[in-house]
């Protein structure tokens, strides 16, 4: 089944084909479950004018935040961007465009993009700035707004394990947006902690079937913690 072997051995191969002005969909919630090495590769490549779709934009100096340093991001589609001074500065100076999208709508837009559904209706955001300019329609007497799906030229995903066919599982809450991002890229690249052989992950436990995945690379992860809160034992 060599035709299904998605494993690549370098980050150059992993992100080959990424060009200026493309759209990149990224998994992750805050700094949890982010494809650290793929983001670093985009920084290294210096690709500019990117539209990045991700729940957050990292923090100063880590995660997607590092792509702000050389102004690689033209537009950010996110639900929450409040942890990043450089982000704020570029937003206020007009260098960075931001499309704030409710978190659930963002997740659903990615899923819909991957699932061939061009648009759906949600009550979320009706009557708020999010609903402005969007079609409103009533169902059972309640108003909903139409939201269109999102797809990307690339999707960059962090999984726990993948087999050579690209079948992925995620670890704990590092799952978050990753499964939806994985479905929505023309080229989906998954960075994993461990590559296993086909069959090692039981078929019903696979969270992202390999059909959505074009490339798999083994990474190493810092896994920085944004808010370490503990209790005494």
């Amino acid at each position: 089944m060599s035709g299904f072997d998605k494993v690549v051995s370098s980050y150059e191969e992993a992100m080959a084909g990424l060009e200026d002005n493309m759209t990149v969909i990224a998994g992750g919630f805050g700094l949890c479950g982010i494809p650290e090495g793929l983001i670093a590769q985009i920084k290294k490549m210096g690709t500019k004018g990117l539209t990045v779709v991700s729940n957050n934009c990292g923090v100063d100096g880590f995660g997607l935040g590092i792509l702000l340093e050389d102004r690689q991001i033209k537009k950010m589609i996110a639900s929450y961007v409040g942890e990043n001074a450089l982000f704020e500065q570029q937003l206020l100076s007009g260098e960075l465009e931001v499309e704030l999208t409710p978190q659930g709508t963002l997740a659903e837009k990615m899923r819909a993009g991957g699932a061939g559904i061009p648009a759906f209706y949600t009550a979320t955001g009706y009557g708020t700035p999010v609903g402005e300019g969007k079609e409103v329609r009533e169902f059972n007497g309640r108003p909903y707004i139409m939201e269109e799906s999102i797809t990307g030229d690339f999707a960059i995903v962090k999984a726990w394990k993948a087999d050579r066919y690209g079948n992925c599982i995620y670890r704990h809450t590092a799952q978050n947006f990753n499964p939806m991002a994985a479905t929505a890229g023309k080229i989906t690249v998954v960075e994993v902690e461990e590559i296993v052989e086909p069959g090692e992950i039981p078929p019903s436990q696979i969270q992202t079937p390999g059909i959505y995945v074009q490339r798999v690379i083994k990474g190493s992860f810092e896994k920085r913690i944004e808010r370490r809160v503990t209790r005494s034992a």
Binding site: C32, A107, T173, N178, E226, R227, V229, T230
Partner: protein, 218 residues
């Protein structure tokens, strides 16, 4: 006397029903988890993809892959489930979460809420708040009754950009528990020692006060 943050959280927790699925926003709402009444159990939903959120971890338990929607390290209870963001908001949008508790800048007599944006200041984003207020069956807003300059946060019409319309039914402030219906705030309970007059003075929106307004019981 005005309630402390902890007391607001305690009053919120009295509203929890046994067997409820609850989403608690950052701040006072999260505190409510510490005051769930004896004999009542609730299961906490965290919108990043965790149902059955447990306490903060011990140093040994800390795991970067195990966080809550506030990006804090957490644990999961026995019987918890973990899922994608799409599934998490399917639960929320689909009305499967019984209770949502969240903070706000302003609430008005139509049940509108503003909680995510103050124009002129930097916009951090709405996160999951718009989905939560659109989807939850019961929403309790917690906030101080007035801002630090004494301006009421309970208005006839919200002035800030909205998070949701027509969705808030109950508010627990440092001064009172109020219900919103028929285009007015209805005073249901007073904080111990707080007079109806003080509440009236600090409520800008239409307020309806019955003859006898009981004090909160703790």
């Amino acid at each position: 006397m005005a309630l402390s943050r902890e007391q607001i959280a305690m009053r919120v927790a009295q509203e929890f029903k046994d067997g409820s699925y609850v989403n608690l926003g950052i701040g006072i709402p999260t505190l409510a988890a510490s005051y769930v009444p004896k004999g009542i159990t609730v299961m906490l939903q965290s919108e990043n993809g965790l149902l059955g959120m447990g306490p903060y971890p011990t140093d040994e338990q800390v795991d970067a892959d195990m966080i809550n929607a506030g990006k804090e390290t957490v644990t999961a209870i026995s019987g918890a489930s973990i899922f994608s963001s799409a599934e998490s908001f399917a639960m929320i949008r689909g009305g499967h979460v019984d209770f949502t508790v969240l903070g706000a800048f302003e609430v008005d007599v139509h049940g509108n809420i503003a909680s995510w944006m103050i124009p002129g200041k930097l916009v951090k984003g709405m996160g999951g708040a718009m989905d939560l207020v659109a989807g939850a069956k019961n929403i309790i807003v917690t906030m101080t009754h007035a801002d630090k300059y004494g301006n009421s946060k309970l208005l006839d019409k919200c002035t800030l950009p909205l998070t949701g319309v027509n969705c808030i039914t109950h508010i627990i402030t440092d001064l009172a528990l109020l219900e919103i219906k028929d285009g007015a705030f209805h005073l249901l309970e007073r904080a111990p020692g707080v007079s109806v007059e003080e509440i009236q003075a600090k409520t800008a929106g239409k307020l309806i006060v019955d003859a006898d307004v009981p004090e909160m019981q703790f």
